[in-house]
C-alpha cells in the first residue's frame, strides 16, 4: 500500500513536464515501464503474501485438527490408563477375596480334619465303651484297651490363630518366635493356601535377622515348593540381596538376572534392574 502512494505522485509529475525532448520522453517512458514492472512485482508480492496468509490459515486449521485429535488421543490414553488402574484395582480386590477365601479354606480344612479324626475315634470306640464309664475298661478285651488313647481329643491348634500369632511376632520384631510359629503352621497345614506366605515370612524373618545363608535356603524352598506363588519374585530378589550381603556377588547377580528374565512383569523386576545397574551390570 505504501509503495502505491509513492508511485501515483511520480506518474502525475510526468504529465506536468509533457512537452520536452524525445530523449526525455523516452526516458520517462522507460521509467514508467520500470514503475509498472515494480507495481506488478508489488502486486505479485501482495498476492504471495495473501497466499502465505492462506497457507498459514490452512496450517492453523490443520494444527487445530491435529491438536484436537491429539487431545482425543490424550483422552484415550487417559481412558486406557483408567482402565488399567481399574483392572489393577479389580485384581487387588480379587487377590483380597482370594486371601480371605484362603483363610476360610485353611480354617475349613482344619475343621474337617478335626471332625474326621473325631469320627474315626467314635467309629473305633464301640458305643459300649462310652457307656461303660470314663476310664479304661475294667473287664474289656485287649482291642478295647488300645482304643483308650484318643489322639483327636487334644485338638490341633487353630491354624489361623497360629498364623496370626506368628505374624504378630514378626511385626513386633520377635523373629525367633515368628519363625517357630510359621514352622508350626506349615507342619500342621502343609496344604493350606497360606503355606507359601508362611514360608516366605520365615525367609523374611531370617533375612531380618541377617541370617543370610538360612534365608537363602528358605527363599529357595518358597520358589521350589510354591512355584506359582505371588511371593516367588520377592523370594528370588531377596535371595539375590542375601547373596550380595554375604559377599557372593556373582551368585547374587545371577538371582537378580533371573528375576528380570523370568518375572519381567513383576514389581520386583525394576528393583532387580536397579540393583544390577548399581553393580555396574546393564540390562537392556
Amino acid at each position: 500500500m505504501r509503495l502505491l502512494s509513492r508511485i501515483v505522485p511520480a506518474v502525475l509529475a510526468l504529465g506536468t513536464f509533457a512537452c520536452v525532448s524525445t530523449s526525455d520522453f523516452q526516458q520517462v517512458q522507460s521509467q514508467v515501464a520500470e514503475l509498472q514492472e515494480q507495481l506488478a512485482s508489488v502486486k505479485r508480492t501482495a498476492s504471495s503474501k495473501e497466499e502465505v496468509q492462506g497457507v498459514n490459515q490452512r496450517i492453523a486449521e490443520q494444527t487445530e485438527t491435529l491438536l484436537k485429535s491429539n487431545a482425543t488421543l490424550v483422552a484415550k490414553v487417559d481412558e486406557i490408563d483408567e482402565h488399567v488402574q481399574n483392572m489393577q484395582g479389580a485384581i487387588e480386590q480379587g487377590g483380597y477375596r482370594n486371601d480371605r477365601l484362603a483363610q476360610q479354606l485353611t480354617q475349613a480344612q482344619h475343621d474337617i480334619e478335626t471332625l474326621r479324626a473325631q469320627l474315626a475315634a467314635m467309629q473305633a470306640a464301640p458305643p459300649a465303651a462310652a457307656s461303660a464309664g470314663t476310664t479304661a475298661p475294667t473287664a474289656g478285651t485287649a482291642a478295647m484297651s488300645e482304643v483308650t488313647v484318643p489322639a483327636p481329643v487334644t485338638p490341633a491348634a487353630d491354624p489361623m490363630q497360629t498364623y496370626q500369632a506368628a505374624y504378630r511376632d514378626y511385626q513386633r520384631g520377635n523373629y525367633d518366635l515368628a519363625i517357630e510359629g510359621f514352622r508350626d503352621f506349615l507342619a500342621a497345614n502343609a496344604n493350606s493356601e497360606l503355606a507359601d506366605n508362611a514360608s516366605y515370612w520365615i525367609g523374611e524373618s531370617l533375612y531380618s535377622q541377617k541370617k543370610y545363608q538360612e534365608a537363602i535356603e528358605q527363599f529357595d524352598s518358597v520358589v521350589n515348593k510354591y512355584p506359582r506363588s505371588d511371593k516367588v519374585p520377592g523370594a528370588l530378589l531377596k535371595k539375590g540381596y542375601a547373596y550380595i550381603a554375604l559377599g557372593q556377588k556373582a551368585q547374587g547377580i545371577v538371582q537378580l538376572q533371573y528375576v528380570v528374565h523370568e518375572h519381567p512383569k513383576s514389581q520386583e523386576a525394576p528393583l532387580a534392574r536397579q540393583k544390577l545397574k548399581a553393580l555396574g551390570i546393564d540390562t537392556k
Binding site: D81, E82, Q85, N86, Q88, G89, E92, Q93, G95, Y96, R100, Q164, Y167, R168, Y170, Q171, R172, G173, Y200, E204, S208, K231, P233, G234, L237, K238, Y241, Q267, E268, P270, L271, Q274
Partner: protein, 428 residues
C-alpha cells in the same frame, strides 16, 4: 522460652486446674478393672519438716504450672483414677480407707532462691512409702517437673514410663509462614524450631527423639532437612531429585524413606541420612506417597494410586512383596503403624468426609473413629494408647489428641492453623 510461656498461658488450662476432683476420664471396662484409686491433695507449700521460715510461694503459679498438669497426667494415665477428697479433712491413711483409695500422693512445694523444690511421696494404705522423689526447677520448668513425676508414678505401677514427657512436632502458620513447632503431650510449652520464613512442613521424629526430618521450600524447591530437637544442627539432604518430601527416619539403621520424583511421577525412595546411597523402591506410573516404617524397620506402608484411587499398601523394606491393605472407600491415605506394629491408623474418606480408621493387620479388621469435620494425618503416642491428628472441625485446621477409641478428645493448638502432627517415638 519467654514466648512459649505466654503461649502456655493462652492455653488457659480449662476448668481442670480448679480442683483435682473435677477430672473425669474415660476408661474402658478392661482398664477400669485395673485402675488404682489415688488421692492427690494440693501440695503443702512448705518443706515437709520446716526448720526455717520458707519464702512465700505463689500458690496460683504452683496450681497452674505444676498441680494442674500433674493431676491431668495422672487422670489420663489409664492406670490411676483420682479419688475425690472431702473438703477440710486431714488426709491420712484412715481417710484413704474411707474413700477407697489405695494410694496417696503427698506433695510439698516450696521455694529456694529462684527455684521451686517439689517433694513427692507415694504412700499406700498401710502408710509405707512406695516412691519418694525430689525435683528442683525454675518456675517455667514446673510443667516438665509435673510430667516427670507423673511418668515415675506410672513406672512404679506397671514398670514402664508414661507418655507425659513425649513431644508432638507439627507445622504451624501462626507467624505468617508455615514453620515446624514442638509441644508437650498436653499442648503446653509450644515452641518454634525452624526459621526458614518459607513453607516448612511435614516434620517426622528420629527413633531416638533427638532429630526431626521435614520438608522446606526455603530454596524455592521442595527439600528435605534434618534438624535437632532444639533447632540446631540443620542440614539439607541432597538427593539430586526434583521432588523431596514426606521424609521419615527408619526405626533401625540410618535410612530415610521419602517421596521423590525424577520426571514428575512421585515414587518412594530410600536414602541414607547423610544423603548417600539413594534407592528407588516403587516403579509404577502412578503416584506413590506418604511412606511410614513399621516399628521393626522391615516394612513400609505407603499410599498408591495404582488402582485408580489412593489406597494403603505395605511392602518389605526392599520394595518387594507389595500388599494392598485398604479396601473400604475410595480414598485412603497417611497410614502409620502402631508402636507394636499390629495396627495401621490412616485417613479414610467416609461419606465425603475424612475420618481416622484403625486397621488390625493381624486380623484384617478395621474400624472408624468418627469425629466432626475432616480428621486426618494420625500419629500414635509411644505407648500406643493415644492418637494425635489434625481436624478442621473448628473451622480452621488444628491439632487434637484422643484415645484410640475416640474418647478423651482434647484440642491441643489454637493459634493460627496447625497441621501434620508427629508424635515422638520414645516415651522419654
Amino acid at each position: 522460652m519467654k514466648t512459649s510461656l505466654l503461649l502456655l498461658a493462652t492455653l488457659a488450662l480449662a476448668p481442670l486446674a480448679a480442683a483435682q476432683t473435677d477430672i473425669n476420664t474415660t476408661l474402658n471396662a478392661n482398664q477400669a478393672a485395673q485402675v488404682v484409686r489415688i488421692a492427690v491433695p494440693f501440695p503443702e507449700l512448705v518443706p515437709p519438716s520446716a526448720p526455717v521460715a520458707p519464702e512465700p510461694v505463689n500458690s496460683e503459679e504452683v496450681r497452674n504450672g505444676f498441680f494442674g498438669p500433674l493431676t491431668r497426667d495422672i487422670a489420663y494415665s489409664g492406670i490411676f483414677a483420682i479419688a475425690p477428697l472431702p473438703p477440710s479433712v486431714p488426709v491420712n491413711t484412715e481417710l484413704l480407707k474411707r474413700i477407697n483409695a489405695q494410694l496417696l500422693l503427698r506433695l510439698n512445694v516450696w521455694k529456694e532462691g529462684d527455684d521451686y523444690v517439689v517433694e513427692a511421696r507415694l504412700v499406700d494404705q498401710a502408710g509405707s512409702t512406695q516412691l519418694g522423689k525430689r525435683y528442683r526447677s525454675p518456675a517455667p520448668a514446673l510443667g516438665r517437673t509435673a510430667h516427670m513425676l507423673a511418668n515415675e508414678l506410672v513406672r512404679t505401677l506397671n514398670g514402664r514410663p508414661g507418655v507425659f514427657l513425649s513431644q508432638i512436632a507439627f507445622a504451624s502458620n501462626r507467624t505468617g509462614n508455615w514453620e515446624i513447632w514442638l509441644m508437650d503431650w498436653d499442648g503446653s510449652n509450644q515452641r518454634r524450631i525452624t526459621f526458614h520464613n518459607a513453607l516448612s512442613i511435614l516434620p517426622s521424629w528420629s527413633p531416638d527423639n533427638e532429630r526431626m526430618v521435614y520438608t522446606s521450600f526455603a530454596r524455592g524447591t521442595s527439600d528435605m532437612y534434618i534438624i535437632n530437637r532444639r533447632g540446631g544442627g540443620r542440614m539439607r539432604i541432597n538427593s539430586g531429585l526434583a521432588l523431596n518430601t514426606s521424609a521419615t527416619f527408619s526405626p533401625v539403621g540410618d535410612d530415610i524413606a521419602f517421596v521423590g520424583s525424577v520426571h514428575g511421577n512421585p515414587d518412594i525412595y530410600l536414602i541414607k541420612d547423610d544423603g548417600s546411597n539413594i534407592r528407588r523402591l516403587t516403579t509404577t506410573g502412578s503416584v506413590e506417597s506418604t511412606p511410614e516404617w513399621s516399628p521393626n524397620g522391615r516394612q513400609i506402608a505407603f499410599t498408591s494410586g495404582r488402582s485408580g484411587t489412593p489406597q494403603i499398601y505395605v511392602m518389605d523394606a526392599e520394595g518387594t512383596n507389595v500388599r494392598r491393605i485398604s479396601y473400604d472407600g475410595n480414598w485412603n491415605d497417611d497410614a502409620v503403624f502402631s508402636p507394636d506394629g499390629e495396627k495401621l491408623a490412616y485417613t479414610s474418606r467416609v461419606n465425603g468426609r475424612f475420618q481416622i480408621r484403625i486397621a488390625n493387620l493381624i486380623t484384617n479388621e478395621s474400624r472408624i473413629v468418627a469425629g466432626e469435620g475432616s480428621n486426618e494425618q494420625p500419629t500414635w503416642s509411644p505407648d500406643g494408647n493415644w492418637i494425635s491428628f489434625q481436624s478442621n472441625r473448628s473451622g480452621a485446621w488444628q491439632v487434637y489428641r484422643m484415645r484410640i477409641d475416640g474418647t478423651d478428645l482434647l484440642q491441643l493448638t489454637f493459634d493460627g492453623e496447625n497441621k501434620e502432627p508427629d508424635w515422638s517415638k520414645k516415651p522419654e
